[in-house]
Symmetry: D3
Subunit: 129 residues, 6 copies
Amino acid sequence: MTIRDHFLIAHSLRGEVFGPAQGLHGATYVVDASFRRATLDADGIVVDIGRATDVLHEVVGELGYRNLDDEPELADINTTTEELARVVADRLAARARAGDLGDGGRELDGLVVTLRESHVAWASYERTL
Amino acid sequence: MTIRDHFLIAHSLRGEVFGPAQGLHGATYVVDASFRRATLDADGIVVDIGRATDVLHEVVGELGYRNLDDEPELADINTTTEELARVVADRLAARARAGDLGDGGRELDGLVVTLRESHVAWASYERTL
Amino acid sequence: MTIRDHFLIAHSLRGEVFGPAQGLHGATYVVDASFRRATLDADGIVVDIGRATDVLHEVVGELGYRNLDDEPELADINTTTEELARVVADRLAARARAGDLGDGGRELDGLVVTLRESHVAWASYERTL
Amino acid sequence: MTIRDHFLIAHSLRGEVFGPAQGLHGATYVVDASFRRATLDADGIVVDIGRATDVLHEVVGELGYRNLDDEPELADINTTTEELARVVADRLAARARAGDLGDGGRELDGLVVTLRESHVAWASYERTL
Amino acid sequence: MTIRDHFLIAHSLRGEVFGPAQGLHGATYVVDASFRRATLDADGIVVDIGRATDVLHEVVGELGYRNLDDEPELADINTTTEELARVVADRLAARARAGDLGDGGRELDGLVVTLRESHVAWASYERTL
Amino acid sequence: MTIRDHFLIAHSLRGEVFGPAQGLHGATYVVDASFRRATLDADGIVVDIGRATDVLHEVVGELGYRNLDDEPELADINTTTEELARVVADRLAARARAGDLGDGGRELDGLVVTLRESHVAWASYERTL
């Protein structure tokens, strides 16, 4: 089951490989969060889509409308699309384990988070739960 | 005839109406530039798509990978999606009149520029030529 | 300026032209609401996107998760995609005139509402304000 | 190899977790059916796309333009997007095994069916063959 | 009201402006045909979507799976995206006037045909009826 | 990490299963190339997106604006969407192994190439590296 949200950030990237993206710029990330499990729950769902939508909105809300260069918890990483996909996936995984997705969230097998940065480039991060 | 490109910027918006977007953040703008004329040229086209693609790429390249808050020529405006659509359209119009789109570019009747800031929000600016 | 939302309904259509759609079925309508004005306001926007998003969500919320065959205020019409686009546009127009979109909403020149019923069919309704 | 079709249904969902979706409403499901095999056949294809398109159209035609609450063979399940993806996948699998996709259909390794219920939510079901 | 179909063709384009597209190549054209009228008919529709879908399928079927360089009725034109949009629109207009879209088809005010040749380029042709 | 490009070709397909596609026609292939690795490199990326974009553009440039029926290196295969996805993937893999994607390209675990031939049909080829 997959839901879509988005967030808007400023950032810069460290490393010659990034060329002009070493300067301060920004991006819209359209986020697809996929929740996986082997069998559906008694209601016939993977996870409560209402809760999942709310939790995803909170997780991307902690990143959106910010300059990521100023975020202490992101100081150790380059905030590439790949890394941010991992950050979102890890935070969703923590919320699932904490029960914020309901009981069904604790029975998830895995997560995939895709961040689309334009119509021609995106990155995904897949992890178990 | 419409072509698509994109650019990535940082900016902030001035005014209470913008809420959290008053802080420094950023966006990907996927740009659709439409060129209109009443009748096609002798080659059966609106405008040379190769030239139009190059000119659009140059115009969005003057905006992309920048913090728009630091751009002198944008200092007078709020760099909203609406205003940026107008900026891109006006710059394309100037390039068309200057002959950068070839002779066909001088015979255009109008332009529409659409900037998509996410999967759920976009803005268009339409002008004559 | 355009924003996107969606709603889910059940309905049936009256008339032989509708074939199997005369039976009770349903649809997801992905709604694009476009707000038009000749010049931007002092903030550089067409209308407050936050208010517009909330109002659109309320308007489609009055239709969504319902069997439209049971809605008294829709009893006079066939709830085709075309008619529902008009209903959404007219309700948005009334909300704009009532000031629910802020002062900028009163300065709008026009509205276009597009309802997408599938990846291969959609309908638009355009009106002045 | 993936092909796309769609169907329109009415239904209601049983369980408090569904909130307003417990009432009779409906949805458009845009269906992506993916057919997988390790190596291509002698014609260089996964499966005859013409046959696959026809069979998918028949399978979704058995669901479309109906109130799923009244379908005896769906009485045991909640007709969530997840469950319906499984139903479509299982019916395609049965048709493949029966030879309705041609000889190539019997050599498929697996199927994935994705049902998109809106621009922000979809569900997939993956199975072997 | 808009419906979508597609067709696949080979062709070459005459004129230096087309660069490598002067050689024999091809394209998928995803076609959006929009039918316009000022007021809906008694059934609450612009035109019978079933008939319109069939007629559009026939019109694009006369172009698809062909080398357009060999089509006598296209010999006078360069088969650019722009020209082909006009061809499809004119043929739909002729079919509408001939009554093939039903009585509603004779009450249409206009048509717009958009041909999408890739994710970054498309062309539209608009005409009255 | 995935990037998108496209190419335009003419071709015909051998075999009764292809029906009208046995005649000379063509297609636009929108290409999504996905690069996979278990862990990101020191810059926080899968692969240098600039190099990957250039290499993908070169690989599809060797196919685009051609009649594939005349390409000697494709003479042994039917140039179906499935086969062409494999060709693009194999050529990208060779380029990655040759170092054309930089050092990161040599650390890739796998590739997936998807060719979209229309809004309703596409094919993917997945391989290790």
